[in-house]
Amino acid sequence: MPSRFARILLALWSGIVLAFLFGPIAVIALYAFNASNIQTWPIPGFSLRWFVSAWNNREIRAALGLSLQAGVIATAIAVVLGTAAAFAVHRFRFVGREAVSFVVALPIALPGIITGMALNSFFATAGTGLSFGTIVVGHATFCIVVVYNSVLARLRRLPSSLGEASQDLGADAWRTFRLVTLPLISTSLISGAILAFALSFDEVIVTTFTAGAQNTLPLWIFGAIRLGQRLPEVNVVVLIVTAITFVPVLLAYRLSQRSG
């Protein structure tokens, strides 16, 4: 064990790191309530006016709607395909089994511009044009790995005897899946889905390559910051987005903890 002095130093350092991680988030929270439309520190006063103004902004609401839709559909696809892949890898031995984990992780392991370009060139070759659909396909592609990892980790911890017992008692494969396996993996499925949604809801780089004229919320934020427009509203949107992602992540974390 490190000496008492070293332990105090490490605790101190950890406090500084936490302040570093959360200080900027606190700054965002304060700026959202800024009464002025000029971005200076310290803020001159508190007001809720930019919340109202952001809510009444049609572009923001349209972008939010699009992001929610894209996130939900992409997550649904990721849940089906990610779970299927996790089952295949867990249950069966086949050639290239080791490669599956590697392949599904590629879209997030490779630099974002490469995934973005690959998808962009796929849509160009297929001649589909860029649309809401291509945003969803892109998001689903990098979300699959999140569900896959979450479900596979749980499957590996389940004793295989439960499924066997169910089949001994006369349940067929589908029934065993529905009544035994699915309830056992449900929390990992939900936490995987939540994290997949959070990933989709926040993604910028790949989306810039797969979106046509559509604006997801991150694309709207990116555009507004870059052009320096509507910054008071950006403050509000950014705070709300952060708050929204905090809730499901905490929930997903609790779910994955509970079933250890």
């Binding site: 064990m1 490190p2 000496s3 070293a6 332990r7 490490l10 605790a11 350092w13 950890s14 790191v17 570093f20 991680l21 959360f22 900027p24 988030i25 700054v27 965002i28 971005q39 520190w41 089906v80 395909l81 299927a84 892949a85 089952f87 295949a88 249950r91 069966f92 599956v100 392949v103 490779l110 630099p111 974002g112 490469i114 995934t115 370009m117 690959a118 998808l119 060139s121 796929f122 070759t125 592609t141 699959i144 896959y148 067929d172 494969a173 926040d202 910028v204 780089i205 810039t208 390559f209 934020i221 990116f222 910051i225 950014v238 705070l239 987005v241 952060t242 905090f246 992540v249 974390y253």
Partner: protein
């Protein structure tokens, strides 16, 4: 009417029976021939990846050896190394690649230095309750909005921002690093820090306590135990974390746009401009090959160091 009525009533159990037997037969077939179940679960996700992603990825790097007709803007499918020689021959493109790789390396080292003591405290000193709390606190920013966190630093580093206010209040002059490489370095290190902490924590937590005791029993001082036992055993975690921080910085082009000043283009900015505005996909593909090759080398090296267990 009565005919259809009785027919309907009679048919119902019959279809149920048929569906039950079909169901039975299907599950029996699945049980007897697991390859069917394997096909059903593996083919859809695999098809998705091979068709949409891997195919496109391969195609992309074939495109790098093509060119674009300057007049028509159409892709000319004659094999050429023109794109690559243009990149290697241009001081600008070389500088941009070096800037990107250099920044990725600087960010990785910074994050490793910040994260290691923190992960060590979390894994070896904090009690179980504090440990869970700290882990949650690290994961929160990891999953929360990327843009929000970049934007926060724009507010902090701006001329009238928190940083200068803090500096002035202790009597120091303004520091205008709002749009510079320093800003990019701070922002990247900030954003990817949780990606370094988590694998490091996992690796450190796995080290059996007995090894610490054994090392001390054999007379090693704390720092020696650290250098000879802890550091080598946590190396896979360090490498796994560095893969994230390195790759994420290498592929980013949003942060350079938002907090980098003039002349801070990354590989991603050139690639994005060539896919969009310049409409020169072959050149973009050739330039994107640089981060891909760098990552391939990095991953091979990481595999040697045993990082795949810790990821």
């Amino acid at each position: 009417m009565p005919l259809t009525g009785s027919g309907g009533r009679g048919a119902k159990p019959a279809t149920i029976m048929a569906s039950i037997t079909l169901h039975r037969r299907l599950s029996a077939a699945l049980w007897r021939r697991p390859s069917l179940a394997l096909t059903a679960t593996l083919v859809p996700p695999l098809a998705w990846f091979v068709l949409i992603y891997l195919g496109a990825l391969v195609l992309l790097f074939i495109t790098a050896f093509w060119s674009v007709d300057a007049l028509t803007g159409e892709i000319d499918r004659t094999w050429t190394f023109e794109n690559f020689s243009r990149i290697l021959g241009s001081p600008t493109y070389r500088a941009i690649a070096l800037r990107t790789i250099g920044m990725a390396a600087a960010v990785t080292i910074t994050d490793a230095l910040i994260a290691y003591p923190f992960a060590f405290f979390m894994a070896r000193i904090a009690g179980p309750k504090l440990r869970v709390t700290l882990l949650t606190l690290v994961l929160l920013p990891l999953w929360s909005s990327y843009l929000a966190r970049v934007y926060a630093w724009r507010l902090i580093l701006a001329h009238d921002g928190v940083l200068n206010w803090a500096l002035n209040s202790i009597g120091l002059p303004d520091l205008d690093i709002g749009y510079s490489r320093w800003a990019m370095w701070i922002v990247f290190s900030y954003i990817w820090l949780p990606f370094m902490i988590t694998p490091l924590y996992t690796a450190l937590e796995r080290i059996p306590h007995s090894l610490f005791e054994a090392s001390e029993d054999l007379g090693a001082r704390s720092w020696r135990t650290f250098g000879r036992v802890v550091l080598p055993l946590s190396l896979p975690g360090l490498v796994a974390g560095s893969i994230f921080t390195f790759s994420l910085t290498l592929g980013d082009y949003i942060t350079p746009v938002l907090v980098g000043g003039p002349g801070s283009d990354f590989i991603g900015n050139v690639v994005y401009a060539n896919v969009g505005i310049a409409n020169n996909v072959p050149f973009a593909a050739a330039y994107a090959a640089i981060p891909l090759i760098v990552m391939a080398l990095y991953l091979t090296l990481a595999r040697r160091l045993g990082a795949s267990d810790a990821m």
